[in-house]
Symmetry: C2
Subunit: 110 residues, 2 copies
Amino acid sequence: MTDKEKFLGEFEHVLLLALLRLGQDAYGAKIRTLLKETIERDVSIGALYATLERLESKGLIGSFMGESTPERGGRAKRYFEVKAKGKLALKRSRGAIDLMWQGVSLSCEC
Amino acid sequence: MTDKEKFLGEFEHVLLLALLRLGQDAYGAKIRTLLKETIERDVSIGALYATLERLESKGLIGSFMGESTPERGGRAKRYFEVKAKGKLALKRSRGAIDLMWQGVSLSCEC
DNA sequence: TATGTTTAATCTACAATATAGAATATATAA
DNA sequence: TTATATATTCTATATTGTAGATTAAACATA
């Protein structure tokens, strides 16, 4: 099959990057905090997982359950990681945006 | 009011850039062709106008009908232009993406 | 071992964005 | 007055984005 490559939604794009940045430590709450702190995007846990789930079902990321031995109690974490296919999608997406920005300058009015 | 700034969808982002690049000549078919040629994104006219419409209703772009005097026949064109608010949104969006990309390198595997 | 507290993930429902293709409008040419 | 060309509008649906309540699993301690 032709593997009709779709484009990433913006939130998907940003989420993939969050996973890459967090590396070993990419799980729900951590991701949420990162997004909040770096780009002030304040998303709910539900929104977060829904998109992660979708990304996984598209094969762009993978996930696995971590050790169930937290310090003070609490359920085990589910860690996420970007797969090769996800990295490729990121490259494409970024590439397209960069191409479109070529020659555009917003230096002035706004 | 706090003017809760939303994020641009990816297609919205790309469309705004297309308008900026086309300048005076930004109307349906032309936009569609540009997208096809620069980033190989082959979108239908319907999809295109639907998004332009949304962008306009959000106040990010404006539009006006052009001269109804084409060479060989055909309906008058509707031209689009990016407003200051649209430029601002672009800046924000681009800024967020750039921030998230900081420190991320995809040099290798994919 | 029951009950509370903590941390985290899943579920449910809905809103916004993306997308296509048919239908319609308007102009010119024959 | 009909055909042809160019362009926009309409209608319908799929995919993404979003929130908040609910459930799960661990630990502490009475």
